[in-house]
């Protein structure tokens, strides 16, 4: 920069005339501060015009400490990946996303309190996140009360989009009834007719068990018995030991560390050799497999997402998502895990929110009805925003329908056995918005 300014009249007068008194200096400083402050207070449209767009404030509730922290950490990777990509591409309608992360410590009461804080103090425009079903259920009325759109990222409890559905909550991924519709025909035709269901005894596990029991019966099969095991039971063997009798397959519904525990201990007492071993894909998530070792070999499951690059997941969009997720997961876990369905569903839920905002011209909470209208019936096309595949967000219950993968674990890796199209996992909507 040139030094010419020193020779100009105003500078000479200011600095060299000997008239720069403390009063003048403070006065000039105050005027400068005032001008800066005024700039900050200029209404958003003007600021946008000057290139300082007001960000969309998006909240995300995740369990980053406590019992479910492992899942929360990977789920947050998905949300953060989507936000970074959106901001890198110039934001939504020219406005960046400001992500406000709240840790609910894996507790429903804390979740509800943190949701209130995001809504009242942080004044978020929308929410995308949630991991534990009981926390999602506890927080849904809070979002509804404040009339803020809530895009769930992981919670799978069926009632979220059935008996407890509300106009503000959307689930852009699958739920148990539609997975059961997709998996039960395979189970009963290829694996066996009689099943014993062992499940995590809480909101998600119970509703998933009911969904599979219904579909197994519909396919001419039979549920010989059920065993519900409380969340966080470290020694499941006394409960698994009771499972015996004349049935073909053992069907497991667990996630996270309970998924690791059931796989290890069911194998140890010979259940997975004696019976066909199948279940919800959450048991054999990529983040669980290292701790299950060879005890999960041969497990057959269903999942919306598995970390493979085989057809039909051998698309450039999925590879891009996969590579980015692997790099980011490596940063939070030195063992370098592959992405799981929690990364995928959070990533896609945030992108669905982006598409909804673009489509509706949503500016803030006042436009929530427009955003809801845009999201209802939203068609999500396979591509960079939705690498898992096409999906549609039903208007009737805010539940997405999407394709599923039946897989087997072989040599510690997922192998696709069958791909079930979204049209073949349809389950009638059972929600009435009040």
């Amino acid at each position: 920069m040139s030094e010419d300014w020193k020779d100009q009249g105003w500078a000479k007068q200011f600095w060299y005339s000997g008239k720069t008194t403390r009063r003048r200096f403070i006065g000039t400083g105050a005027a400068t501060a005032g001008a800066l402050g005024a700039t900050m207070l200029v209404p958003a449209p003007w600021r946008a015009a000057f290139g300082q767009a007001k960000p969309y404030k998006i909240g995300t509730l995740q369990p980053l400490s406590g019992a479910a922290a492992s899942g929360g950490k990977t789920a947050l990777v998905g949300t953060q990946m989507a936000v970074d990509r959106i901001n890198k591409m110039g934001g939504i309608n020219g406005r960046p996303i400001e992500l406000l992360v709240a840790d609910y410590e894996s507790k429903p009461d804390v979740g509800r309190r943190k949701a209130e804080k995001l809504l009242v103090e942080d004044n978020i425009d929308a929410h995308q996140g949630g991991f534990l079903s009981n926390v999602c259920l506890a927080c849904m009325p809070v979002f509804a009360e404040h009339k803020v759109v809530n895009l769930i990222g992981v919670c799978l409890d069926t009632t979220i989009t059935t008996t407890k559905c509300d106009r503000y909550t959307f689930r852009t991924f699958d739920y148990a009834p539609s997975q059961a519709v997709g998996f039960a025909p395979y189970m009963t035709s290829k694996l066996g007719k009689r099943w014993h269901i062992v499940y995590a005894d809480y909101a998600w596990g119970q509703s998933t068990k009911d969904a599979y029991a219904e579909q197994i019966k519909k396919q001419g099969g039979e549920v010989a018995g059920t065993t519900g095991i409380p969340l966080g039971t470290a020694d499941m063997t006394p409960f698994l030991s009771k499972i015996s009798g004349n049935f073909d397959g053992l069907f497991g519904i667990f996630f996270g560390r309970d998924g690791v525990t059931v796989a290890n201990q069911a194998f140890d007492i010979g259940l997975t050799k004696k019976y066909k071993w199948a279940g919800d894909g959450a048991i054999a998530e990529s983040t669980n497999i290292p701790a299950q070792g060879n005890k999960i070999e041969g497990f057959i499951g269903i999942n919306r997402y598995i970390p493979v690059l085989d057809s039909p997941l051998n698309t450039p969009a999925h590879r891009k998502f996969f590579d980015d997720a692997v790099a980011r997961l490596k940063q939070i876990d030195p063992s370098g895990p592959l992405p799981d369905r929690y990364v995928q569903s959070n990533y896609e839920a945030m992108n669905a929110l982006k598409v909804g905002i673009e489509k509706s011209g949503f500016q803030g909470r006042a436009d929530t009805p427009k955003l809801i209208t845009a999201l209802e019936g939203l068609e999500m096309k396979e591509g960079d925003d939705f690498p898992q595949g096409d999906k549609i967000l039903r208007k009737e219950d805010h539940q997405a329908m999407l394709r599923q993968f039946i897989f087997e674990i072989k040599d510690g890796k997922h192998k696709i056995i069958e791909v079930i199209a979204a049209s073949n996992v349809n389950y009638p909507a059972a929600c009435s918005f009040t």
């Binding site: 400490s65 406590g66 019992a67 922290a69 492992s70 899942g71 950490k73 990977t74 005894d201 065993t227 519900g228 095991i229 409380p230 966080g232 039971t233 470290a234 020694d235 063997t237 006394p238 409960f239 030991s241 009771k242 015996s244 560390r257 690791v260 525990t261 290890n264 201990q265 140890d268 007492i269 010979g270 050799k273 004696k274 983040t287 669980n288 290292p290 701790a291 299950q292 070792g293 939070i332 876990d333 030195p334 063992s335 895990p337």
Partner: protein, 290 residues
Amino acid sequence: MEIPWDIILIQTVNGLVTGMILALVASGLTLIFGIMDVVNFAHGELFMLGAYMGVVVLTTTGNFWLALVIAVLIVALLGAAMQITTLRPLLGRDPLNTILATFGLSLVLQNYALWQFGPVARKIQEPFTGQFTLFYLQYPWYRIVIAVLSAAIITGLYLFLKYGRYGIWIRATTQDRVMAQAMGIPVPWVHTAVFAIGAGMAAASGVLFGPLVGVNHAMGLDWVLKAFIVVVVGGMGNLGGSIAAAIFISLLEAYASIWVSPSQAIIVSSIVLILTLLFRPTGLFVPTPK
């Protein structure tokens, strides 16, 4: 109604195995309380850190037994450091201070593990994978080994306390701290050693139990609550009582699960706790106070 003897016998084995693991976790806890009057809320995290140390050493050496020994030593040293830096300055203060301090430590250790090792659960490969037939089940030998090893470690601790020179120091400190100090026993160092032994026992149980569950940052949470119940039911600070309570509660839960759902069966321990607090607050397995 026909009595299902096969299931009763299977559940007896299960109850004894679970009881011995629980006894090992609880004995460290009760030892620390008995000597130091410290309710150690970080005990579950020492269990978890032991398992992680086991993973690290096992990955490096490939030897499970070496991993068990080294993990115990490392966590015992960590326990000693924790006691010197965090608990020793609080000696003589309101017990609430130590509760808050150990609770804070538990949060720090849990989040440290999550940060250091990441969210993916790790595996400890058991040293052998054989099974034997137990009625309709293939029962893993490793579970029996865990129970036997737990019993051996607890017996070793008992013999050390009963006959070892330093064990006598520890018992003297338990009986009368001031008199022990007057007799020349270095009470602050006894406290440190006891905390280290308790931490080492938690680490041993973490390594031994790791192969059954996978190692993760929250694995201590699942055990420590039940260990606290066991310590209260057995009589706070009473080693023998804690062991008896651990086996008693585990057997009750195992038998209950024959007839009721697991969710109802695990309530048994809470019921025993409530009844103990109501009718025998000093603990079920201690002599009636005169």
